[in-house]
């Protein structure tokens, strides 16, 4: 008789270890493949798994085998018109035996080994070797977020939290304790009674009194309550503060006429990368979008990326707004503040000096990191020159120039590269 075993509930991830080993072994190739992916795909898709292809020759394992050449006899099925002695031209690089069965079974061609990374794995590779600068500052600061944890028992509480076992154990102890003196007395009276009975008979007054006393004491014992409100014990749960980390990310973008659709697209990708990156470190992230031309306003995402304004550019307006938002809503001991600014570098001439002033006094002391990207194919504009000064004063300020979409990832990597401590 056969045994039928249902193994479906057994672990299914037996290969997980092997898969990790595989990924580790080919990490270099995978990273390279990911870089290509970034260059070609839209950033909105980044938060998913990714199809990775690495050269097949890297993953193949060598073994001794024959190659074409020498003398070889073979049998094939399906003869149609061949007669013994027929000569056939040798097929060009024909599929000789050996790896014949490996014929391309996919559209990817035979030179690549293609597989999928899960979202987690993908992000892992994607942000490997990157770290958020100045993470320490508020990382450990506690927010008034609490979690209920067990903390022993109390004598008062909510009926639903009654701990039955604990309460009954207490009650039993109390009953034993209260019974003690009565039982002792009964015992001594009983021995006295025994003594008396040897000398007197039942009708003796002393004996009757003693018997009455025993009955009374027994009654008292019976009167001890089985359970008393005094016995009740409740499970106790107290609030324990949980350290949570949260961050706010400011996206500041120039939406003036000089920023075209393409520049905005580049900026958007940059912001998204930053967002993805922050989600790996912080549990909660708020994003504040500030768009500006001559005046700045806080907007929603849709407006931020798709509305078009015209007019000049006054960068300081956005910085002022950001500074006031920080003061109003994001106390720096509770929030990790990150900011990314994207612009084509164009600014109203006299404004750049004001910007530097605001940055130095009102923004840089409060933020964890401020990155500025200038999206322009031309020479740097005046804002760049002024900002260069800030960079030399503050460690947590970084700026880079981006010309085309494929620059984003490298620039991003450079901005957030792990620094030696």
């Amino acid at each position: 008789m056969a045994q039928i075993v249902d193994r479906r509930l057994n672990g299914k991830n037996k290969s997980a270890v092997n898969r990790q080993k595989f990924l580790r072994r080919f990490r270099k190739q995978i990273k390279k493949s990911i870089e290509n992916v970034i260059a070609e795909r839209s950033v909105t898709d980044l938060d998913k798994g990714e199809k990775i292809s690495i050269p097949k020759k890297d993953t193949s394992e060598p073994f001794f085998h024959h190659t074409q050449g020498g003398h070889r006899d073979m049998v094939h099925p399906g003869n149609k018109e061949f007669q013994t002695g027929d000569k056939i031209p040798r097929p060009q690089s024909g599929n000789s035996q050996g790896d014949g069965s490996e014929a391309s079974d996919s559209g990817e061609g035979e030179d690549d080994f293609v597989f999928e990374l899960s979202r987690e794995e993908f992000l892992q590779f994607f942000f490997e070797d990157l770290e958020l600068p100045n993470l320490v500052k508020t990382k450990l600061s506690t927010i008034t977020e609490t979690k209920k944890i067990r903390a022993g028992h109390t004598s008062e509480g909510n009926p639903t939290n009654i701990n039955v076992v604990r309460s009954l154990t207490g009650a039993m102890g109390r009953r034993m304790a209260l019974r003690g003196p009565y039982k002792k007395e009964i015992k001594s009276i009983e021995s006295e009674l025994e003594d008396l009975l040897k000398r007197h008979d039942e009708s003796d007054q002393l004996i009757i009194d003693l018997r009455e006393r025993i009955t009374y004491l027994k009654k008292r014992i019976k009167k001890i309550p089985f359970i008393d409100s005094f016995d009740l014990r409740y499970d106790n749960r107290i609030d324990q503060p949980v350290p949570t980390t949260q961050a706010v990310m400011f996206c500041i973008m120039d939406v003036s006429g000089s920023m075209g659709r393409e520049e905005k697209d580049i900026a958007k990708r940059f912001f998204m990368l930053l967002y993805l990156f922050l989600t790996r470190t912080y549990e909660k992230i708020q994003i504040i979008f500030i768009s500006h031309h001559t005046i700045a306003s806080e907007v929603d995402e849709e407006t931020f990326f798709y509305s078009r304004e015209t007019g000049g550019t006054v960068v300081s307006s956005a910085l002022k707004l950001m500074s006031s938002i920080i003061q109003d809503r994001f106390p720096t001991n509770d929030w990790n503040i990150y900011a990314a600014q994207a612009s084509d570098g164009d600014n109203w001439h006299n404004d750049s000096k004001i910007c530097v002033d605001i940055m130095n006094n009102k923004i840089m002391p409060f933020v964890q990191y401020y990155s500025y990207i200038e999206i322009t194919a031309d020479r740097q504009q005046n804002l760049w020159e002024e900002y260069t000064g800030i960079g030399s004063n503050w460690d947590n300020f970084a700026m880079k120039k981006i010309e085309k979409i494929s620059d984003i990832y490298p620039v991003f990597r450079k901005l957030f590269q792990k620094r030696d401590a």
Binding site: M1, A2, Q3, I4, V5, D6, R7, R8, N10, K12, N13, K14, S15, N18, R19, Q20, K21, F22, L23, R25, T59, E61, P62, F63, F64, H65, H66, T67, Q68, G69, G70, H71, R72, D73, M74, V75, H76, P77, G78, N79, K80, F82, Q83, T84, D86, K87, I88, P89, R90, N95, Q97, G98, G100, S101, A103, S106, F113, V114, F115, E116
Partner: protein
């Protein structure tokens, strides 16, 4: 309504399976198999999910195995193919163990489950139990234990010596695993307790032996002329991994044990590599015969049969050489047809059959097939039983591809003059001995630079693939000193030499 269907009710009408149904089908299949005289190990059917099937698939079908990236590679590959719906995920995996474990995938329909039970749990099972290669070379009762030992040992090594060091050794051993088998000598039985108790003993002993072999310092100054002809080993050794395990000068004891593990497992799979056509042919023949019997007895419905036949037909189809789907001869097709043909020769022999197969024509088919199953491997099986009728059915033709000629020549076709030639060429095609390059340990320069020389004896002037340059690096890593491979032709002349020095640490 026929008479028989009044007596027998079909076991099930729908294609959904339940545990009770599997049990019912199984007991019917078991009964039929017993009636046909199949002798098997006890059967254990395990229901698993598709993910688990992928896990099993990527670890060469074994339920436990040590971890290594190559299995991870297999896994991502299988997973991807499965997700793309390209692969009707192998619906059967069967393990040569006692009891014989066959996996049933939960996604399969009832007819497919019955097919797998008949194919794997009775077809393959009886082959494993009775074929001479399996009975001499593998120990069905202890393989799972040994794999557990191997898995634990390698995991321990990883914690103790680092994953990279272990991976390096395994990579090198894997490159040589086809050269880790004894072709002619039966290996000792495997057993878990013995393995564990002996392993430490072996470690100590081996190291002392190796120290002995390499203790050359005191007798350095000897007349060189005596040593000219001295060879170590005195006879060439075909089992390269075994030679390395026993004699490589620099390996640590744990590294030797890993070499041994890879070698043992390769040995276990060696019979499977030699009997693919027979094994699959036998299992396919029996699932076909058993399920047809089930149908004749009225135990399954027409729909059941349709689904089964459709799958069966796919499995045994043989595209012709000019088809885009052609990738060599399909072992299922060849095996199934040969098995069926043996039965035909026994039951309805023609004049031709009496001429070609005087021993079995007209004999009892069950006895004759049982004999064939027990005593052959692919190479000899084809050499013995490929009939002219089958050669005609497959329209087989033989070609000669010689690099001295500009063109390929058709040397034989399916006619009276060609049958013998086609048969012997096809048989040779399944000879692992001539398909794999013949490489043996030739010499170790004991008194000199300790270099190892392997000899590749060319078969019909066939050259080594350039992957030999990669493999030799692995050999050098294991050996620890220079390694040479010499390709020699029929006249013992060295035509090509590969050389490699071990990586510097």
């Amino acid at each position: 309504m026929t008479a028989k269907s009044k007596i027998f009710q079909p076991i099930s009408e729908t294609s959904d399976w339940t545990f009770e149904l599997i049990e019912k089908y199984h007991s019917e299949i078991e009964r039929i198999a017993k009636n046909f005289g199949l002798s098997t190990y006890p059967v254990q059917l395990e229901i698993i999910t598709a993910e688990q099937m992928m896990d099993a698939y990527s670890s060469v079908g074994m339920p436990v195995g040590y971890s290594h990236w190559t299995f991870g590679k297999e896994f991502v590959n299988t997973e991807r193919n499965y997700k793309r719906g390209q692969m009707g995920l192998a619906y059967e995996i069967v393990i040569n163990s006692d009891p014989c474990i066959a996996y049933l995938m939960e996604e399969n329909s009832m007819p497919m489950q019955a097919l797998v039970i008949a194919h794997a749990a009775y077809g393959h099972n009886s082959f494993f139990k009775n074929n001479y290669l399996f009975t001499t070379w593998t120990s069905a009762d202890s393989i799972i234990d040994y794999l557990l030992f191997a898995k634990k040992y390698i995991a321990d090594c990883e914690t103790r010596y680092g994953e990279e060091a272990v991976e390096n050794i395994l990579d090198s051993c894997h490159a040589l695993k086809n050269y880790g088998v004894d072709r002619y000598k039966r290996p000792p039985k495997l057993s878990l307790q013995e393995e564990q108790s002996k392993q430490q003993e072996r470690e100590a002993y081996l190291q002392s032996q190796i120290n002995e072999l390499w203790r050359t310092i005191p007798e350095k100054e000897e007349p060189a002329s005596d040593k000219k002809k001295f060879h170590y080993p005195s006879e060439p050794q075909e089992n390269i991994l075994y030679f390395i395990e026993k004699h490589a000068p620099l390996l640590e004891p744990w590294q030797r044990e890993i070499v041994r593990i890879v070698r043992k497992i390769a040995q276990y799979f060696y019979p499977q590599r030699q009997t693919q056509v027979m094994n699959e042919g036998w299992a396919t023949f029996w699932h076909y015969t058993i399920l047809n019997q089930l149908y004749d007895e009225g135990l399954c419905t027409d729909g059941f049969m349709m689904e089964f036949l459709q799958s069966h037909t796919n499995v045994v189809s043989q595209p012709s050489f000019d088809s885009q789907y052609y990738s060599g001869i399909n072992p299922y097709a060849l095996g199934f047809n040969m098995m069926t043909d043996i039965r035909r020769i026994c039951e309805k022999p023609t004049k031709e059959d009496y001429e070609w197969f005087p021993d079995i024509a007209g004999s009892d088919w069950q006895t004759s097939m049982d004999f064939a199953m027990r005593n052959f491997k692919d190479e000899s099986f084809i050499g013995q039983y490929l009939s002219p009728k089958l050669i005609r059915d497959f329209k087989m033709f033989a070609i000669t591809d010689d690099d001295k000629n500009r063109q390929i020549e058709v040397s034989a076709i399916h006619n009276n003059n060609g049958y013998q030639a086609v048969r012997s060429i096809l048989s040779e095609q399944y000879n692992l001995g001539s398909n794999e390059p013949n490489i043996q340990v030739f010499n170790v320069d004991l008194k000199g630079d300790r270099s190892l020389t392997l000899r590749h004896t060319q078969h019909l002037r066939r050259p080594l693939d350039k992957s030999a340059y990669e493999v030799i690096k692995h050999v050098a890593r294991l050996w620890g000193f220079d390694v040479k491979i010499q390709s020699i032709d029929e006249n013992e002349k060295i035509v090509k030499t590969y050389e490699c020095s071990p990586p510097k640490n």
